[in-house]
Amino acid sequence: MIADILGAAVALMAVDIILAMVLGTLVGIIVGALPGLTTTIGLAILIPLSFGLSPLVALGLMAGLYNGSMYGGAIPAVLLNIPGTPAAIATTFDGHPMTQQGNAASALRIACVSSAMGGFISALALLLLAPPLSLVTLAFGPPEYFWIAAFGLVSIAVLIGGDPIKGILSALLGLLISSVGMDTVTGRNRFSFGNLELVDGVSIVVVLIGLFALPRVLQMAEDATLTGVRVADLKIGKGDGKPVAFGPLIPTWIRSSVIGVMVGILPGAGGNIAAFLSYNEAKRSDREPDSFGKGNPKGVAAAETGNSSDNAASLIPTLTLGVPGNAIAALIMGGLLVHGMQPGPSLFRDNGEIVYGFVLQMMITSVLLFALGGMVATRLFAQVLCVPQVMLAPMIVALMCLGLYTVNNSQFELFMMIGFGVFGYVLTKINFPLPPMILGVILGGMAEQNLRTALLISRGDWWHLLASPISKGLAALVVLVLLIPLYRLIRSRHTGPAL
């Protein structure tokens, strides 16, 4: 193994491979930064183009694109309050308030360093712990996945905000949206109204752009701010007087990386769940949870570390078991197959040099983010804010539509996105929190599918949900998360009024 890693490191020292990594990372940052264009689309377009390249050049491009796009999503999230990718939703919570306070440069720098940190730790886990971690993947069956989804759903409470009724309604609406489409257990269509386009349900990208990007653009047009913010005001670049204090972020980085890696090795979960969970944990464990959502640097760090530390970890089941956990992993697996490498337990043995090369590339491109993301991209993208908002708004809409259409070549999805956009705009106007809804959409299907599959396997025996030790542990966590606020409430009533 060590010989393979060293061999791989030497093999990476070629001009074309280094160029591929730099180029991949830059393209990735751009893909991530454009709302609508996601990592999946970027890779889907890139992989057929890379058929003719040598394996390490092609894989270098893929690694760069993957890591770059996870950070890229944070740029519009911080600057415009529009998440570039689904995984960057949690980044908007504190990232945009920081921009409003004139700290855009710090927010972007924290996002960049946190992304790099998460990506690096994730790649380290892939390099050193892939075989043992892949056993965890296999230990998770339908009951265990059900509990993970349930844990995510009870965590929504943290995101609900000031008005609990509206927050809960929003989450329930999300669950309702997630029930559209074919019922996988019976094969019957639900809420599809005879329309084939709805048989697969509502795509998360449609909901994301509709709820998070379009209302924001409508708001921009409404404000009709004719003059943009000047770059100088944002204190971007070396002129930044006060350096960002990274020290206090170290515990956040560690906690969020662990969460990201654990979510990553579970097929089907993905970066958006990792970002939400690590944001929730950062908020819950902080001494001042109320400072989150108002421009707390730790919020940005938690979200960005969380979504990036999912990256390499999500490739662990793909590379070691040969079974892709999500669309991105499936594409990378396709890229490996094209170059004659069959993912599975023997992959590291038979193609050690190339596979370890790829793992090292995941690591190197994370580090490249420091340079490319921090220095080049941030300054470049911050120029966006100089554009008057009335001009910026239509440009964003055009890019959104283009990006969305590229996913499935579907006009129907464009109209659906606009529908969600108008709906989201109305909800924002009456102060409905939108994050609980998107979590409902993401987790609702996961919870339902796994609950019903588990009951199908046990032929209706509900105790099957608590059969394994992992299920018991996760169920206990769910109960704890539900009971802790209650306990605190009771205790504060006993000891006097709360804060």
Partner: protein
């Protein structure tokens, strides 16, 4: 004033002339090859790898792969059925999926809406079981299912999917009942089998066989009459006395009414692609089971699948209405 026909005659002549020339010229511009599944899937990989060879053997015109995923491929097939039959919109179809979605859903195309030009691959489905299960042969599995009806869990991608129908066909051939556990996709099913959450699962032999070679799961048999060239050591259910033939047949079709001259050119390009040593090498790397059928045989096969499924649907519809 000239009669209308005199004015129209040259127009009509030139129109028919251009169609004839268009057919002789074919292909003179970009050809769209529609795929009903997302980028990265088995069908998409086949399309993208075959596209450059089709280009080469059609002699002109780019072949561009367009993904139109949704409703198990039905969105793409609906679009293909309604496309202009000029040979510039083609679809890569995967049987029996194209036929299975016709039952119990809201699909409004028919198998008659296409001209069939030829096939690339036929991959039999196979049954894989966990390493910890006692099943070593097709007979073991059938015996267990007979002893405990509806208790042996067999996974596969979704209700009404090719894998689900494969399990149904096997149940009928052996007169047993499994507990079919639908999963979002073949990958999830494989994880569940390897983790011991379900007894076994159904998927194509090329994807199951890699798991068998790596000793992560055991493939006990293919649903075919003959053993496959990628997995010659795997027995068939036919050898054990259960006569089933079920697998994924992938080939190109065009909208109904595409001129026969153009259809012949496409069939010829598919045949030349399959004979191309360079393509054969790529196929071998990807564990593809190449299998050429011309348009007529492809169509006959599709009709067989349809009548087969019609019969099963009449007796035990797999989606309640």
């Amino acid at each position: 004033m000239k009669p209308l026909s005199l004015i129209l005659a040259p127009v009509l002549l030139s129109l028919s002339g251009t169609t004839a020339i268009a057919q002789a010229d074919y292909p003179s511009r970009q050809i769209e090859l529609l795929v009903g599944f997302s980028a990265g899937g088995a069908l998409d990989i086949l399309a993208r790898q075959a596209a450059p060879f089709l280009e080469k053997h059609l002699g002109g015109g780019d072949v561009v792969v367009i993904n139109r995923p949704g409703a198990g491929g039905a969105l793409m097939q609906t679009q293909l059925a309604g496309a202009n039959p000029d040979g510039y919109t083609l679809g890569l179809l995967s049987m029996p999926g194209v036929v299975t979605v016709l039952f119990g859903g809201d699909v409004d195309y028919e198998i008659e809406d296409f001209e069939y030009s030829g096939t690339f691959t036929f991959e039999p489905h196979s049954v894989m079981v966990g390493m910890d299960t006692p099943f070593e042969t097709p007979a073991d599995l059938i015996a267990a299912a007979r002893e405990r009806p509806g208790e042996v869990t067999l996974g596969g991608a979704g209700i009404g999917s090719a894998a689900h129908l494969a399990a149904l066909v096997l149940e009928r051939a052996a007169d047993v009942k499994f507990a079919f556990i639908p999963s979002p996709g073949a990958a999830e099913m494989q994880n569940q089998v390897m983790g011991g959450h379900i007894d076994g699962g159904v998927t194509t032999i090329s994807s199951a066989y890699s798991r068998h070679q790596e000793q992560q799961a055991r493939v006990i048999g293919t649903l075919s009459s003959e053993r496959t060239s990628v997995a010659p050591d795997i027995a068939t259910f036919a050898e054990a006395g259960y006569d089933v033939e079920w697998g994924a047949l992938r080939g190109i079709a065009a909208p109904k009414g595409t001129p026969p001259e153009i259809m012949d050119k496409i069939t010829e390009a598919i045949r030349l692609t399959l004979d191309d040593p360079e393509f054969q090498q790529i196929a071998a790397q990807n564990n593809m089971l190449l299998h050429f059928m011309d348009g007529d045989r492809f169509e006959a096969n599709v009709r067989d699948i349809y009548s087969n499924l019609e019969e099963i649907w009449a007796e035990e519809p797999w989606i309640e209405e």
